[in-house]
Symmetry: C2
Subunit: 184 residues, 2 copies
DNA sequence: ACAAAAGTGTTTCCTATACACCCATGC
DNA sequence: GCATGGGTGTATAGGAAACACTTTTGT
């Protein structure tokens, strides 16, 4: 998905506008990737593209995307060939996301406000494209001490029901001030 | 330092050309940083800047820079206020360099072909802005097994003289093929 | 003689990893 | 009763960090 920037807006603003026009989505995590400037990259006219990647919560936005904007989801394991250098952009986005998710609590953007440990683990397994040991993952996350364990249980995905957690942004922010380094 | 890109060149090519025009330097490590696009960043006209950072070997290029191009070196600990958002660009370059140098053998770009362990350590101390234990650093570097220890000794910096090393690019490349991950 | 840098190993601690069984519930 | 996912702790290995003294030689 792309568009042209206007004279009176920044690249960030243009990216936000374009995403909104094409998907109806606003106020989500977006990050500039890299300026692509090969002279031959667009056969029609000379174009420099500055792609952004966004983290879209599939649970929150699925209907909106599919029904109102005819957008589709593709698995990273099996996505189509894109025009121009857009496959390279996707590759760059994946690498950036992996790096960011390993040093910032960026993954939480992709989960509902309340989530289970399993959801969090499955998300990181998807981002990193590797399976993670259940116990080690929980130990690691707990040792970070930036989640609130809620009283509630979620019973959709399992018979027993599993505790819900919430990312404690205040706690995280105050830890950051004290020099805490997120690392997963 | 900056310049405007031409219609028939890429950003990489423009960055290389501008650096060469201003310093006479060619064929060095350069990397694109980030596209800066605030609408007010340049008060004269709307400008989007895509800065690059370069690794310039101070030993090799000092005279060239100072005498032929009136360029100057500034310490990162005490550098002047720059115009527009250029201080932000420098900050971004430092962070990027720290990251790159920790996962790629990029630091060697800044050393002469033959260098002492002390020089390598001092370089990493400068990049990371922290002191590094002499023995631990040597053990770590040796465990990477990507340097050739030469017979020659360097006697300029010390009475005793210290062994010179050379980065073994062939060995490094073949290790990379085998899945080796540089980490320092 | 002494100043300045080179060179050299071991111990300790901490983090990462590997690993298996019982629990609660819906069907 | 059985299938499904939830929940829990420990032992081991490997890497990171701390640490001090002797050697060489120019002055």
């Amino acid at each position: 998905m792309g568009g042209f920037m206007k004279k009176d807006e920044t690249l960030d603003e243009a990216a936000i506008r374009v995403l909104h026009n094409l998907t109806g989505i606003r106020n989500i995590y977006m990050e500039q990737l890299y300026a692509f400037s090969n002279t031959e990259r667009d056969p029609v006219e000379r174009t420099i593209s500055v792609p952004y990647y966004a983290l879209i919560n599939i649970q929150e936005h699925n209907e909106e995307l599919n029904e109102e904007h005819s957008a589709q989801w593709f698995s990273l394991k099996d996505f189509p060939r894109l025009i121009f250098d857009h496959n390279e952009m996707v590759g760059r986005a994946i690498r950036r996301l992996r790096y960011r998710a390993s040093i910032m609590p960026i993954g939480f953007e992709l989960l509902p406000e309340k989530f289970t440990m399993r959801q969090l683990r499955k998300l990181y397994e998807a981002i990193m494209d590797q399976s993670l040991d259940k116990r080690n993952f929980i130990n690691k996350v707990n040792s970070l001490d930036i989640l609130m364990k809620l009283e509630e249980k979620e019973t959709e995905g399992s018979k027993k029901g599993s505790y819900l957690y919430r990312f404690d942004k205040d706690k995280y922010d105050s830890k950051i001030v004290e020099g805490f380094q997120f690392k997963i």
